[in-house]
């Protein structure tokens, strides 16, 4: 809504489109581009996509609706929202867990965004189409140069801070309304070229060929669950924070739930159309994981007509996908810290970005550290944050309360009572299953042990800090929820 009369003292999105692009920009990350097409192809192609789509509608969209609705209802960041629900005291520490996980996530994500920035910059120097270009030595040379990796990490955090200093409307919104459509256009342009390459059919058949028997494999459903939940960023505090800046008459379920879940996955689908035809047309290996973008793909640009254009489009798009996520993930901590301390927004942005920069140095210096942190927080830290947020909504606030008070208020689509069971039982059960599955799958591995340390120490630390700061008070007027029973 554009009416100035509807503004409040707290920042708000300037437009509906700005909110929607912030959600998509946050959720679309590097994983959408290199991971989805490969995971789909490895797990039955079309069969995987059907399972994935079902999970998006049944679990991810309802979960996102809950998270955005809590943010809209409380109009606070993660710690303030938790305090409103559970009352002052140690349990507010669950909000601290979400905050810590976000800071940890950004600490290794920022160096990775730095990789994409380095490649985007080199695409403008026509490096990838020069005769002397060799992809593996190029990547190895970059990673072996600490001055370069730290410089990229520093530039990324400086850019993130620069955007966040301008606030929600003038900073985040202005970037995402341009960056997200630019990312989609980049991928669309590459798609047009990719699907017309000789041999592109094989890539399309790999990703979209239907192998129905895969629907009977548990591994297909586990892969679809993991992709859907991690890709949509459910329960990471992002949707809660973005939702806290919604305006009074804004809808939650249609934009914050359905559009976000399906829209961000649509970018992954577009990436499948864009990338895998190229991979197969040039006889490359599709199973190279993250190195697909940094080693495998760069070697084909020199062989393509006007390859420099495709290199620029691909790496700029790749950078935008990563950078918009970095902005909004960092905003989670900035919103919360500025609300919980006496720091101004400017001071908070500098403090949070400075801390993330400092914590990110080990990951900038070593790709092994980055991989370790990604494994630990991806498998246990992020599901723990999801469990905290969805657990508080499902078992303390109560989904029915949230549904009648916030979800269906000004809603673009009506959400029925079926939603309560999904939020209260299904999402928490799935998150517990995923954490247990990953622990079983990597039992005894140092990364699994580190994950268990995170699972135990983060909630304990959060509880202890908030109990100390808030004196272990019983729920007062702000902590109204008597229980999660509906």
């Amino acid at each position: 809504m554009s009416s100035d009369a509807l503004k409040t003292a707290r920042g708000q999105w300037g437009s509906r489109f700005g909110f929607l692009m912030a959600m998509i920009g946050a959720m679309v990350g590097v994983g959408n581009i290199w991971r989805f097409p490969y995971v789909a192809g490895e797990n039955g192609g079309g069969a995987f996509i059907l399972a994935y789509l079902l999970i998006l509608f049944v679990i991810a969209a309802p979960g996102l609706i809950a998270e955005v609705a809590l943010g809209r209802y409380t109009e606070k960041g993660v710690i303030g929202a938790f305090r409103d629900v559970v009352g002052p005291g140690g349990l507010v520490g669950l909000g601290v867990v979400v905050l810590l996980v976000n800071v940890a996530l950004m600490s290794y994500y920022s160096p990775l965004v730095g990789w994409t920035l380095y490649y985007a910059a080199h695409s403008f120097l026509f490096t990838f189409t020069s005769a002397a270009f060799r992809p593996e030595p190029f990547l190895d040379g970059f990673l072996a140069n600490p001055a370069l990796t730290i410089a990229m990490h520093t530039i990324v955090m400086a850019l993130v801070a620069g955007v966040l200093l301008f606030g929600i409307r003038e900073g985040v919104e202005r970037v995402v309304v341009v960056a997200v459509p630019a990312l989609v256009l980049s991928l669309a342009a590459i798609t047009v070229r990719a699907v017309t390459l000789p041999g592109a059919d094989e890539g399309l058949a790999f990703t979209f060929g239907v192998r129905w028997e895969f629907l009977t494999f548990s591994s297909t459903w586990i892969a679809a669950l993991g992709q859907a939940l991690f890709s949509t960023g459910l329960g990471w505090g992002i949707a809660l924070t973005v939702g806290s800046y919604l305006r009074k008459y804004d809808d939650v379920p249609l934009g914050g739930g359905i559009f976000t879940a399906i829209g961000e996955s649509s970018v992954a689908v577009l990436a499948a159309f864009a990338i895998f035809p190229i991979v197969f047309a040039y006889g490359l290996a599709p199973d190279t994981g993250a190195t697909l973008a940094f080693v495998t793909l760069p070697q084909v640009f020199s062989e393509m007509a006007a390859g420099w254009i495709w290199a620029i489009l691909f790496f700029v798009g790749f950078f935008l996908a990563a950078f918009t996520s970095a902005i909004v993930i960092t905003e989670v901590a900035v919103t919360t810290v500025s609300e919980e301390t006496r720091l101004s927004r400017r001071q908070t942005v500098l403090a949070v970005c400075g801390l993330i920069w400092l914590l990110g140095l080990p990951s900038a210096l070593s790709a092994d550290v980055l991989d370790f942190a990604d494994f630990v927080f991806g498998n246990w830290g992020l599901p723990l944050a999801t469990l905290c947020i969805i657990g508080v909504i499902g078992w303390k606030l109560g989904p029915e309360r949230l549904r009648v008070l916030s979800v269906n208020q000004n809603a673009g689509v009506y959400v029925g009572r079926w939603w309560n069971g999904v939020v209260k039982y299904v999402v928490p059960a799935i998150m517990l299953f995923i954490m247990a599955y990953f622990a079983y799958d990597s039992f005894g591995d140092p990364r699994m042990i580190a994950g268990m340390v995170v699972l135990v120490s983060f909630p304990l630390a959060g509880y202890a800090v908030m109990r100390y700061l808030e004196g272990g008070e019983e729920p007062g007027p702000s902590g109204k929820a008597a229980g999660g029973d509906d």
Binding site: M1, S2, S3, A5, L6, R16, F17, L20, G45, G46, I49, L53, D201, E202, L204, A205, F208, G209, V210, Y249, D251, L254, G255, I258, F259, I262, G263, S265, S266, V269, L270, E400, R401, R403, V404, L405, N408, Q409, N410, A411, G412, Y414, K480, A481, A482
Partner: protein, 105 residues
């Protein structure tokens, strides 16, 4: 290698179920936004619940009169009823008969 019919079918299904649904949601929510802005500019207030959602809210208030959130829920309910009574044009599909039957809580 020509693509098989099932690959074509799946690609079509994917385009419709992902880009089609996302596009539908985007267009629908942006149109709803335009309608809300138009109503707010002409009458400054907007009905905040659909008939079904307001029924749910009333049922919940009546089932949980002493709930810590009941006062907030009543406020939201009464605000919507008041707006429906004092405005001529509504965002949701409210009939005059249905509005006439509404009572504040």
């Amino acid at each position: 290698m020509p693509l098989s019919a099932d690959v074509w079918a799946m690609m079509l299904f994917v385009v419709v179920s992902f880009w089609g649904v996302a596009g539908w949601a985007l267009v629908r929510t942006m149109r709803q936004e335009d309608r809300k802005v138009e109503l707010l500019e002409s009458q400054r207030e907007l009905d905040t619940y659909s008939p079904k959602a307001l029924d749910d809210l009333r049922e919940w208030i009546e089932a949980h009169p002493d709930d810590p959130y009941a006062a907030d829920a009543r406020e939201k309910y009464n605000e919507c009823v008041e707006t429906l009574r004092t405005t001529d044009r509504h965002f949701y599909g409210w009939s005059d008969e249905r509005i006439a039957r509404l009572e504040k809580l």
